[in-house]
């Protein structure tokens, strides 16, 4: 019941937004209030049920479409809870970070909340059709957020995003339907470990599902929509777009493809691990070449998503724990970096790395936090990303040594471009053309960023905060894999 309430509140919030008057202050405070409620509920769930997410109070199973055996089945488990929590947190932060949205503010928040509804639903769905419905609910809102409030290239970006991901998810639906029809149910419980399908049938079903999920991530050859979308979006959309949206794909991989079709994905696992490595290396190489700070962060984000693929494909405890953890830590650090890029570009009027410099002196807070985010991105011990990347690499190496070694090499590459960027932007001299910094990050900006930095540190120092929650669910996945 709590889960359902948490999912529905954003919808009520969206309706509330549309009913409000146009006064900007009122709209912002109301949006803050709406966004805070799911976060509080998720926090409550963590403290009250953290060790026991199977509790009946969290799940619901209502027959929806009887003749097709589709149900409104929701519940939380360790695989999804981290992202469920992060979705509520990042939506709140997106509301705080919406300073560059000025037109049609209440429509912006209403659409953002509809997107939140979809994302929360994905991480709670326990039914394939319901999962797909929530998965697609995010599509139109993200299209609108980018298409209406993005920068001058938003039009093409939004259309690309739509076409790629709609195509991917349609293919994924075909896989889901085939799976459900062959197995006679869409309930994830009933379908665990293949739902009685033969190995060949599982492979045939897994292929389209994996394709759809990998487009959403995006895994590298399928990433054509990403850069334009990330760069065009307003800052607060970036928070959601990079922090949560890719995880719809990786979560589907970990929650649906691997445990429900263990024999079907097995032949694909080495390739998924390889795709993960391609993501890591490609993201790092291309990030090196970006003149634009936002594009650099975007490619860095693609790169570190690769660790999730690698860890998930490893099929062992360390790797899977790392992958589930990396979903959260990736969300934290990429949201942090995108917000800071937004702050810096507003204050300095440029995003070009070659034009920036000397932020350490001029914007010590923003610059310092940018350095923290970049250090997190390169996997510095003590920060959350280190824990999860390290685990993913360990797990990946154990299963696929070549991919594991190459992934570790990726960390070196990411350190290179990030340190180069820091040297230039934070400590470098101010060269052409000199710009004026209006002020350091203000209280609103800090309020958006500091919670992320704190969580990065907390999870880096006490990973058990999250690992303890996810461990039982990861063990369930492992037993599904082992049982095949």
């Amino acid at each position: 019941m709590i889960t359902t309430v948490t999912i529905v509140i954003p919808l009520l919030g969206a309706i509330l937004m549309l009913l409000l008057s146009d006064e900007a202050r009122l709209v912002r405070y109301a949006a803050l209030g709406v966004a805070a409620v799911p976060l509080l509920l998720a926090t409550y769930v963590y403290f009250a049920f953290g060790g026991n997410l199977d509790a009946a109070a969290l799940s619901q199973d209502v027959t929806w479409i009887e003749s097709l055996n589709v149900g409104y089945r929701v519940g939380l488990d360790g695989l999804g809870f981290g992202m469920f929590f992060l979705t509520t947190l990042l939506t709140l932060i997106a509301v705080v970070a919406s300073w560059d949205v000025r037109e049609n503010l209440k429509q912006y928040f209403a659409i953002l909340f509809v997107a939140e509804l979809g994302m929360l639903g994905v991480f709670a769905a326990q039914d394939l059709i319901l999962f797909y419905v929530f998965f697609e609910i995010t599509l139109i809102p993200m299209y609108l957020l980018v298409g209406i409030w993005g920068d001058e290239n938003r039009r093409q970006a939004a259309i690309r995003f739509f076409v790629y991901t709609f195509l991917g998810s349609t293919v994924m639906l075909a896989g889901f339907l085939a799976f459900g029809i062959l197995a006679g149910s869409y309930s994830m419980d009933a379908l665990s470990t293949g739902g009685g399908l033969s190995r060949a049938a599982q492979i045939a079903v897994a292929a389209p599902i994996l394709f759809g999920l990998l487009v959403k991530v995006p895994a590298v050859p399928l990433h054509g929509w990403l850069l334009a979308v990330y760069v065009s979006s307003p800052t607060s959309t970036n928070v959601v777009l990079s922090g949560i949206l890719p995880k719809l794909g990786t979560y589907g991989l970990i929650r649906i493809a691997i445990p429900l079709l263990p024999e079907g994905v097995e032949p694909f696992l080495p390739y998924i691990a390889a795709l993960g490595v391609v993501n890591i290396l490609y993201g790092s190489f291309v990030a090196f070449l970006q003149p634009d700070l936002k594009a650099l962060v975007a490619y860095s984000s693609i790169g570190t998503l690769g660790f999730i693929l690698l860890g998930a494909a490893s099929g062992n405890a360390v790797g899977l724990n790392g992958a589930v953890f990396q979903q959260v830590s990736h969300g934290l650090y990429s949201a942090l970096l995108f917000i800071l890029v937004g702050v810096i570009s507003v204050r300095t009027g440029t995003r070009r790395i070659s034009e920036l410099g000397g932020l350490a002196g001029r914007m010590p807070w923003a610059g310092g936090l940018l350095a923290l985010g970049a250090l997190a991105a390169m996997g510095l011990p003590g920060l959350a990303v280190f824990v999860s990347e390290f685990m993913s690499i360990m797990g990946g190496y154990e299963a696929f040594p070549v991919q594991g070694v190459l992934a570790a090499f990726g960390i070196v590459l990411s350190a290179m471009y990030l340190l180069y960027m820091l040297a230039r932007v934070i400590f470098g001299p101010i060269e052409r053309p000199a710009y004026e910094v209006s002020a350091d990050a203000g209280p609103v900006e800090m309020a958006a960023v500091v919670p992320l930095a704190v969580l990065l540190l907390m999870l880096g120092i006490f990973p058990a905060l999250l690992v303890s929650v996810q461990r039982p669910a990861v063990e369930a996945v492992l037993s599904a894999l082992g049982g095949s």
Partner: protein, 478 residues
């Protein structure tokens, strides 16, 4: 076959419709100035028809009347609800338009007579009664299409519709006569005995002519060519209504004829349906891609959607039959809400694609509703069109026939193919600069209300599915 009180009860929706039809006509003649009264009566009438059909459905009323020629069951009542519900919204839109021209009385009477014909149609279990009901539903619709005297296209569209419609009717009648000749009776139960698994040549010709006649009526390719001209010429409310209500009734009665009248001949007609379905989808979508006029585009889109529904007919075999019937029922309701909504938005905004430019800024509520309709026509969840397609795909997958798999594959391809033209409108609404002044709100309150109500129904169709599929399971076609 005595006429008893129960007979009147069985005919209650039709009787209510007839009563209001006469009332609207009379009031239109004698209170010519008071168009508001006429429109109110027509709207009230469609609600009363809806209510009486819903009442019959709620009490579980069913039975066979007039010597078995007229049947009331859950299936028929379900479609009567669709017809009456869409009539209500069409009347709201029609009242505004015909208020300008001053012929509200006549125009609204025509709508109510189409309602009457369509409702009789879905209850028919006799081929000749069926033909009469079809004519009762279509003859007023020719007049509706040609009703806009201020535009040449209206007369042109009406003329084309009339000529092709009459040809279609004669083809249909010829088919009915041949079937009658083979089976010696027009009752579907007797036809079923004559139509065994091996058909005589005359029976096949009769079947093919019958199907061709229906293909005209539901605008399936290659008999679809009247559709764009008729819908472009017609007053918007007429196009909106005719593309939804009579069409749903045609599909319903076709389903009844095929399942009750010739179940043994299923291999023949599912093959014909599979062919028609694929052809219709591709023709509808490929032509829709080229349109700049939104009304014409929606006309071709309605052709494409007929193709999708025909895919469910192709899947009427083996263990897929119950799901395929549900697919037709659910798709008809899903299509009714989204397509009516889209046409009514045209009524508010205009039919040139350019008039949608920047609508999100000038009129955000209508723009968001149109977005919902367009996304639903594409088939994006959780909107109504998604559920329609979901049922068809599942029925196709259950049918176990390779030909139907091909049809379902074509449906998926066509859904992606349709994205550019539906989202072309969305692109204009979101990304283009507003073209002209904000369209005046004026007296469009009722149409706006309809658009919002239909957008909500489209968006929350996933919740409507629960009562709908409960209804559907209670329907007694099998």
């Amino acid at each position: 076959m005595a006429v008893t009180g129960e007979t009147f009860l069985a005919l209650l929706p039709e009787l209510v419709a007839t009563g209001f039809l006469i009332l609207v006509l009379m009031v239109g003649v004698f209170a010519e100035r008071n168009m508001g009264l006429v429109a109110g009566l027509a709207a009230l009438g469609s609600l009363a028809v809806f209510g009486s059909a819903a009442g019959l459905l709620a009490t579980g009323f069913s039975g066979s009347f007039f010597g078995g020629g007229f049947v009331v069951d859950g299936f028929a009542l379900y479609f009567k609800l669709i017809v009456a519900g869409s009539a209500f919204f069409a009347v709201l839109a029609a009242a505004r338009w015909s208020g300008y021209t001053g012929d509200a009385g006549e125009y609204l009477t025509l709508i109510l007579s189409v309602v009457l014909g369509s409702m009789l149609l879905v209850s028919m279990r006799d081929l000749f009664g069926l033909f009469l009901a079809i004519e009762l539903a279509t003859i007023p619709s020719y007049a509706m299409v040609a009703f806009d005297r201020s535009r040449r296209e209206s007369a042109e569209g009406g003329m084309k519709y009339l000529i092709t419609g009459v040809i279609a009717s004669s083809v249909l009648l010829y088919g009915i006569v041949l079937i009658y000749g083979v089976s010696g009776s027009a009752a579907l139960a007797d036809v079923a005995e004559a139509f065994g698994s091996d058909l005589s040549t005359v029976a096949v010709i009769g079947l093919v002519l019958l199907l061709s006649g229906f293909a005209f009526k539901v605008s399936a390719a290659p008999f679809h060519f009247w559709t764009p001209d008729a819908y472009q010429g017609a007053p918007t409310s007429a196009a909106a209504f005719l593309s939804v209500a009579p069409k749903a009734a045609f599909f319903a009665v076709l389903l009844r004829v095929l399942l009750e009248g010739m179940p043994e001949a299923a291999p023949t007609w599912t093959a014909v349906m599979a062919f028609l379905s694929i052809l219709t989808m591709f023709v509808g979508n490929l032509f829709a891609l080229r349109q700049r006029n939104v009304r014409r585009m929606l006309a071709y889109s309605s052709v494409a959607h007929s193709g999708y529904i025909l895919a469910a007919f192709a899947a009427l075999q083996g263990q897929a039959i119950p799901t395929a019937i549900e697919a037709v029922l659910i798709y008809s309701a899903a299509y009714a809400v989204m397509n009516l909504g889209a046409f009514l938005v045209i009524d508010l905004v205009g039919e040139d694609a350019k008039s949608f430019n920047g609508l999100i800024r000038t009129s955000p509520g209508v723009a968001l509703s149109m977005l919902v309709f367009m996304a639903s026509l594409v088939g994006i969840p959780p909107l109504s069109g998604f559920f329609g397609k979901l049922w068809i795909i599942i029925a196709g997958a259950q049918s176990g026939s390779v030909a139907v798999y091909v049809v379902v594959g074509a449906l998926v391809i066509n859904s992606v193919l349709s994205v550019p033209y539906y989202f072309g409108i969305v692109r204009n609404m979101l990304f283009e600069e507003p073209a002209g002044p904000v369209p005046a709100k004026g007296d469009s309150g009722a149409v706006r209300f309809s658009v919002y109500a239909l957008a909500v129904a489209t968006a929350l169709f996933g919740l409507l599915i629960i009562p709908l599929s409960a209804l559907v399971q209670g329907s007694g076609l099998l």
